[in-house]
């Protein structure tokens, strides 16, 4: 194809997205579109399965049977969501195993928030309330993104995730209304998870490299800063209901903007965690790689068994 022809195709392609038409896997798409989607969808999938770890480590210690089944179901959903997203990514011609390889070798990123440790039971509340809260803000607009398989996966994810944040908030509420010790546990969790949750919505707009292109492809509807503001504005009143204090002395209502002003985010910390120097980066990767390697003989055996069974069937048929 000549350069002009490609330009023409690209223009038609952008026009389709502009008209809110969906792009399906077999449609022609610019190479950059494909690559960007593989990167973003797989990053999202990786975040789901790495995100299973901090919560998964509390399943055996959940304080009641009711909490235990809720947490199990939630962490299981995260596996399911990872699976939906990997599947969406596979329609772009890259296998789940290749994507795992990228994760395990550190080539692919995942949400940095999961590199913080889950230290107390209240962290299960804080993660559900804040981390899932921030995730939902990111995810809801994606139900309408331009790439069909991603949009469909996100619709399923959002539908299923509606209980996750409530589950977390309920844990926080119970703690906040419990004994002083429980309330302190809840406050401590909020203190530790608040800032990482704000960082989770991405670098500030002036530092964000992908925003303009992502907006055009409907991978984003709002900028990082807008999303962050939305998250803060909706979360502060929830903290009030809990009677907990957001750990930001500069946080205050701005009448003119009808939004909360907030303090400076420590972007240096964010950068270090992204680079792999967070408290749990190494452990998280070790857990993922370990599970994958320990599972290899199992996956191989299942495949070998299926092949033998198929061969026997074919032999019988002859």
């Amino acid at each position: 194809m000549s350069e002009d022809q490609i330009k023409n195709l690209e223009a038609q392609f952008e026009a389709r997205i502009e008209r809110d038409e969906k792009i399906e896997p077999k449609d022609w798409m610019p190479e950059k579109y494909r690559k960007t989607h593989i990167r973003q969808i797989s990053q999202h999938a990786h975040s789901e399965i790495v995100g299973m770890l901090p919560e998964g480590n509390w399943i055996t210690r959940a304080p009641s049977l009711r909490r235990k089944v809720a947490l199990l179901a939630k962490v299981q959903d995260e596996a399911g969501h990872g699976l939906y997203l990997y599947s969406a990514c596979e329609t772009l011609g890259v296998s789940r195993d290749e994507l795992y390889e990228q994760l395990h070798t550190g080539k692919a990123k995942y949400s940095s928030i999961f590199n913080y440790p889950a230290l107390t039971w209240a962290d299960m509340g804080a993660i559900g309330w804040l981390v899932d809260g921030a995730a939902i803000i990111n995810q809801v607009p994606l139900c309408n993104t331009s790439f069909g398989p991603y949009a469909r996966a996100m619709i399923r994810v959002c539908k299923e995730e509606s209980f996750h944040q409530r589950q977390g908030f309920e844990i926080m509420l119970k703690l906040a209304n419990g004994t002083p010790e429980q309330k302190e546990m809840a406050q401590d969790a909020l203190n530790r998870w608040w800032w990482p949750s704000l960082m989770m919505l991405g670098p500030t707009d002036d530092k964000s490299v992908h925003t303009a292109q992502s907006m055009k492809w409907k991978l984003k509807r709002k900028t990082n800063d807008e999303l962050r503001q939305q998250f803060i504005d909706q979360t502060v009143p929830q903290a009030d209901v809990l009677g907990l204090t957001i750990p930001d002395p500069d946080l205050k209502w701005n009448k003119d903007r009808k939004s909360y002003d907030f303090g400076a985010i420590d972007w240096e910390e964010f950068l270090q965690v992204v680079k792999g120097h967070g408290p749990m980066n190494k452990e998280r990767m070790k857990a993922r790689v370990g599970a994958w390697e320990r599972g290899k003989w199992v996956r191989d055996a299942a495949m070998a068994y299926a092949e033998k069974k198929q061969a026997r069937k074919e032999k019988q048929a002859v």
Partner: protein
């Protein structure tokens, strides 16, 4: 307690699901791949659902204000009545599957009989659980076949796991005092009568899986009397952690 035998009988059943559910819960996020991880968590969820039904009933029978969680999490080591089999660790996926299969095969025939219990609550719980457990058994026996008749490596791992866990199977068919009393009342199941069917069935699956039935004559026992393997203590450390570290609080 007026109905102490019934209470102990229920605990004997429920503790198996509790401890096995706890063991499977350890695996969530660490399975051999996503599909299998999700399946194992489903089994764990089913088991904890069963535990709640049993303990809610036990709590009613005890009538001393103890909740399902008090019963699940605030007993001492010797008061847990699960069989030794279910507390064995996830040494590798072959052990997880072997433990699951050896228990599911028992659980299934047990529940089939429990549906006929003259205690209507137990019969109803059994009726609900049996659908779940039929699926568990299908899952675990399929995996025994896959690993047994898969690769050389998987076969040797599966054979080793079956051989190691075999010593815990006989205990499934031991009668406790509570068992005897409940059988006499038409509430409980005579597990001794299930033994032959169980071993025949298990042998059949092992044969299909190209695995050998272990030639073992000496079996381990004690779980039903609260005399456990050393593993249980560590399971309880996690299971009871919150309730012990923060007593008398609601969560």
């Amino acid at each position: 307690m007026k109905n102490e035998n019934l209470y102990n009988y229920i605990l004997g059943i429920a503790d198996n699901s509790l401890i096995l559910g706890q063991r499977l819960g350890e695996l969530t996020g660490h399975g051999p791949n996503l599909e299998t991880d999700i399946a194992c968590t489903n089994i764990s969820l089913d088991l904890f659902g069963q535990v709640r039904s049993y303990f809610q009933y036990a709590s009613k029978i005890a009538g001393d204000g103890r909740s399902e969680d008090d019963i699940a999490m605030l007993r001492k080591e010797r008061d847990y009545k699960n069989v030794l089999l279910v507390e064995q660790p996830n040494t590798n996926f072959a052990y997880t599957i072997a433990r699951q299969f050896l228990f599911d095969a028992y659980h299934l025939v047990f529940l089939r009989e429990l549906q006929k219990s003259s205690d209507l609550t137990l019969a109803a719980i059994a009726n609900k659980c049996i659908k779940e457990v039929s699926y568990h058994e299908r899952f675990s026996s399929d995996w025994v076949r896959r690993l047994g008749d898969g690769t050389e490596e998987s076969k040797s791992k599966m054979q080793e796991a079956i051989a190691d866990l075999w010593v815990y199977t006989d205990e499934l068919f031991h009668q406790t005092e509570a068992d005897k009393a409940m059988v006499a009342e038409g509430i409980g199941i005579d597990v001794i009568k299930l033994k032959e069917e169980y071993y025949n069935y298990v042998a059949g699956v092992l044969e299909e899986s190209t695995l050998e039935v272990p030639d073992i004559k000496y079996f381990q026992k004690g779980g039903k009397q609260g005399i456990h393997t050393e593993h249980l203590g560590y399971i309880l450390v996690e299971l009871q952690y919150m309730q012990r570290a923060y007593p008398n609080m609601e969560w």
